[in-house]
C-alpha cells in the first residue's frame, strides 16, 4: 500500500499510535490478500448494504442542463443512505478479524456515525461515536438513529464543535484504549494506512461505474470534504481519459472566508496525522470553516486529493451553500430524488460540466447520500428567507 502521495500523507501521530498503525497496516494487508475476507465483505456489501448500486440516467436533469448525458451513481440507495457503509463494513470486519472488541469513530453530518453503528451492530462490536455539538444540533435525527442502533454518542464541545474536533477526540480516545479498540475513521484522511485503506474500500464505487458504463465516462464529478466518495469514484478512473472533478464547499463564497474549500483556498500543513492541504492562519492554527453541509465542514482533505490537485489529474471546483441548496431542490423536482446537501454540491458542478460538453458525452455524478437528514436545514433556510420555497 502507498503511504505517501507525493509529499502528502505520512504518519504524524503521537508515538503511542505508531505500533497500533503498524498493527493495522499489517492486519489490513493480510485481510486484503485473503480471499475469504474479500468474499465475506462482498457478501455483506451485496446482501446487507445493497450493492451494486444503480447507475441512473437522469433524463430530466440532462434536459435542464442541455449538454452531456448526466448519470447518477446511486450511493444514496445504500443501507443507511450513504456511501459510508462501504468503508464501515470493511473496517468493522477488519476490526473483528484483528480481535478488537471496541470501535470508536467520529462523525460530521452523522452519516459515518450511523454507518459505523450499523456495521458494528451487525457484527456484534461495541461502538462509540464522537460528534461535534454544533453538528449534533443540526443533525439531531442522526444522533437519535445512532442511539437506536446501539452506539453511544459522545458530543464534543471543544474548538469549532464540528468534524475536526470530533476526529481529535476520537484519536485521543484511541490513544487511551489502543490495545482493544479500533479507530474506524470515516474518510480518506488521517495517518497511513487510513487514506489508502478507505480509498480501497470506497473504490467499489468507481469500479462499478466502469462496469456499468462499459468503460470510463467522459467526466466524473464527486463532492469532497475529507474526500472518500470522491477518491472511491476517481481511483479506478485515474488511468482513463475521464475528466475528474472534485467539488468542495464554497460556503458563503471563497472571498468571505466562510467556506470549507481546503484545496481551493488552503495551503499544505499537518493535521490529524497527515501532511495535506489545510485551511489555516499565518501561524498554522487550523479552522474557521463553514458549510451548510456538516459533512463537508472540515479544514483538511485527504492527502491523495492534495496530490491529485498538484499533479493536475483532478480539477477541484467548489459550490456555494446557495448553489448546493438550488441543486438539492432541482434534483428533487426534476428527478424525484432528494440528495444529501454534500452530494448536491457535486450535482451543481456536474450540471456546469455537462452544459459545456456535447450531447454525445457522458457525465457521472456520485450521489454519495440521500437528503432526508438535510430536509430540516433546507426548510429552515427557506423559512429564514434564504431561498424561495
Amino acid at each position: 500500500m502507498r503511504g505517501r502521495f507525493g509529499p502528502f500523507g505520512g504518519r504524524y501521530v503521537p508515538e503511542t499510535l505508531v505500533p497500533a498503525l503498524d498493527e493495522l497496516e499489517e492486519g489490513y494487508a493480510a485481510a486484503k490478500a485473503d480471499r475469504r475476507f474479500r468474499a465475506e465483505l462482498a457478501g455483506y456489501l451485496k446482501d446487507y448494504a445493497g450493492r451494486p448500486t444503480p447507475l441512473y440516467f437522469a433524463r430530466n436533469l440532462t434536459r435542464m442542463a442541455g449538454g452531456a448525458r448526466i448519470y447518477l451513481k446511486r450511493e444514496d440507495l445504500l443501507h443507511g443512505g450513504a456511501h459510508k457503509i462501504n468503508n464501515t463494513m470493511g473496517q468493522a470486519l477488519l476490526a473483528r478479524r484483528m480481535g478488537k472488541r471496541r470501535v470508536v469513530a467520529e462523525t460530521g453530518a452523522g452519516q459515518h456515525g450511523v454507518a459505523t453503528a450499523m456495521a458494528c451492530a451487525c457484527l456484534g462490536i461495541r461502538s462509540e461515536v464522537y460528534m461535534g455539538s454544533k453538528d449534533a444540533g443540526r443533525q439531531s435525527l442522526n444522533v437519535y438513529r445512532m442511539g437506536l442502533l446501539g452506539s453511544r454518542v459522545r458530543t464534543v464541545d471543544t474548538g469549532s464543535r464540528t468534524l475536526k474536533d470530533a476526529i481529535s477526540e476520537a484519536i485521543r480516545d484511541w490513544t487511551a484504549n489502543v490495545s482493544d479498540t479500533h479507530y474506524l475513521l470515516g474518510s480518506a484522511v488521517g495517518p497511513r494506512p487510513y487514506p489508502g485503506m478507505v480509498a480501497d474500500f470506497q473504490g467499489v464505487i468507481g469500479k462499478e461505474i466502469r462496469r456499468q458504463m462499459r468503460g470510463a465516462p467522459d467526466a466524473a464529478v464527486a463532492c469532497v470534504g475529507g474526500g472518500s466518495n470522491a477518491i472511491g469514484t476517481f481511483r479506478p478512473l485515474l488511468r482513463t481519459g475521464a475528466e475528474l472533478v472534485g467539488v468542495e464547499a464554497a460556503g458563503r463564497g471563497l472571498g468571505t472566508g466562510m467556506h470549507s474549500a481546503t484545496l481551493g483556498a488552503g495551503s499544505p500543513g499537518v493535521l490529524h496525522g497527515m501532511m495535506t492541504y489545510l485551511l489555516q492562519d499565518a501561524d498554522g492554527q487550523v479552522g474557521g470553516t463553514h458549510s451548510v453541509s456538516a459533512g463537508l465542514d472540515y479544514p483538511g482533505v485527504g492527502p491523495e486529493h492534495a496530490f491529485l490537485k498538484e499533479s493536475g489529474r483532478v480539477r477541484y471546483a467548489s459550490a456555494t451553500d446557495e448553489e448546493a441548496v438550488a441543486a438539492f431542490r432541482a434534483l428533487a423536482t426534476a428527478e424525484g430524488i432528494i440528495p444529501a446537501l454534500e452530494s448536491a454540491h457535486a450535482v451543481a458542478e456536474a450540471v456546469k460540466v455537462a452544459r459545456r460538453m456535447g450531447g454525445s458525452k457522458s457525465v457521472v455524478v456520485t450521489l454519495s447520500g440521500r437528503g432526508d437528514k438535510d430536509v430540516g436545514v433546507v426548510r429552515g433556510r427557506a423559512a429564514a428567507g434564504g431561498e424561495g420555497a
Binding site: 508515538e15 490513544t175 487511551a176 496525522g273 492554527q285
Partner: protein, 285 residues
C-alpha cells in the same frame, strides 16, 4: 548564526545525576492564563525548584493533550497568543533565567507553517535549548531533526509504553537532551490512582534501551508528589509535570498565582532530591 543552548538540558540532567538527584521538568503555556499570568506561572515554577522548563506554544488541535492543556491552549489562542508572541515569552523567560534549560513544546503544523529551519532558528534566537513535538515521530523526523541540529537545539523524541524494544533503542539513539517517555496510554493530564504498574515497567524498559547514554524523562499523568516518587523509584532520570500546574493556574487569583505554583512545584520537586537532602518534616504545602 545564533546557536541554541548547546546541550544545556543534558548538562543540567547530568549535573543532577552526579549528585544523586533527579530532575523535575515543569510545563507552562505561553499566554496562559491570559495577561501576565503566564509569567507568574513561570516564576512560580522556577522558585519551586524545577530543573527544566517546557514552554507550551498553543496549537488549535493538540492531539496529545487532555482536557486541561487542551482548554488552556484554546484560552491562550482566544487571548490572542501568536507564534511570535509565544517566542517573545520564551525570550523573556530566558532573560530572567539565563542558565535555565528551556524547551518549547508544540505541534508539527506550527513548525511546518513557518518552515522547520526558520522555526528552529527563531526558537534558538529566543533562547530555547530544545524542541518537543509529540506528533513528529522518528519516522517523519528527518527534516525536523536536521533543522533543530542546525540551530543548536535538542530534538527531544517521545516514546510510549507500547513501543517495542528495538524501536525504543532507535528512539534513544536519535533523541537529544533526554528521551521523553509518555508513560501512560492516552493524553496529558491526571489519572486517578497515579501511574499504573505498566507505566513503571515502561520506565524500566526505556532505561534499559537508553543504556545510560541518554537520560529518560517520564511524563503524562503526574499530578502529585507520590506520582513523582513512583517514577523516581522506577528509575526515571526526570519526571515531567504539566496539567497539574495549569489546572492550578486556571483557578488561582492572579496575585496568589506565583506563590501557589511555587508551592505546588516545591512539593513535586521533593521526591527527586537525594534522600539526605529531603526536608523533613515537610513544611507547609
Amino acid at each position: 548564526m545564533t546557536a541554541g543552548g548547546g546541550g544545556r538540558i543534558r548538562a543540567a540532567l547530568d549535573r543532577l545525576a552526579s549528585r544523586g538527584e533527579r530532575a523535575l521538568v515543569a510545563y507552562t503555556m505561553a499566554g496562559y492564563p491570559p495577561g501576565r499570568g503566564a509569567l507568574s506561572v513561570f516564576r512560580g515554577i522556577v522558585r519551586g525548584g524545577a530543573d527544566v522548563v517546557e514552554v507550551g506554544l498553543p496549537f488549535s488541535d493538540p492531539l496529545a493533550d487532555g482536557p486541561v492543556i487542551r482548554d488552556a491552549a484554546a484560552a491562550s489562542l482566544r487571548g490572542g497568543t501568536t507564534v511570535d508572541g509565544a517566542l517573545a515569552f520564551v525570550r523573556r523567560a530566558r532573560k530572567e533565567e539565563p542558565g535555565l534549560p528551556l524547551a518549547i513544546m508544540t505541534y508539527a503544523n506550527i513548525l511546518h507553517r513557518r518552515g522547520y529551519a526558520r522555526f528552529a532558528a527563531d526558537a534558538a534566537r529566543a533562547g530555547a535549548d530544545g524542541l518537543i513535538v509529540p506528533d513528529i515521530p522518528v519516522d517523519e523526523s528527518a527534516g525536523y531533526a536536521a533543522a533543530a541540529a542546525a540551530a543548536g537545539l535538542d530534538a527531544v523524541l517521545l516514546a510510549a509504553p507500547n513501543t517495542p524494544p528495538g524501536r525504543l533503542r532507535l528512539l534513544a539513539s536519535r533523541s537529544s537532551g533526554f528521551l521523553y517517555l509518555v508513560a501512560v496510554y492516552g493524553t496529558t493530564g491526571a489519572r486517578e490512582g497515579g501511574p499504573p504498574e505498566y507505566a513503571l515497567r515502561a520506565v524500566r524498559a526505556a532505561r534499559r534501551a537508553a543504556g545510560g547514554r541518554i537520560p529518560v524523562g517520564a511524563g503524562f499523568g503526574v499530578s502529585a508528589p507520590g506520582d513523582v516518587a513512583r517514577f523516581v523509584g522506577a528509575g526515571a532520570d526526570a519526571v515531567i509535570v504539566g496539567s497539574a500546574i495549569l489546572r492550578l493556574a486556571g483557578t488561582v487569583p492572579p496575585r496568589r498565582l506565583e506563590d501557589e505554583v511555587a508551592s505546588l512545584v516545591r512539593g513535586l520537586k521533593e521526591p527527586t532530591l537525594p534522600r539526605g537532602r529531603r526536608p523533613f518534616p515537610r513544611g507547609p504545602a
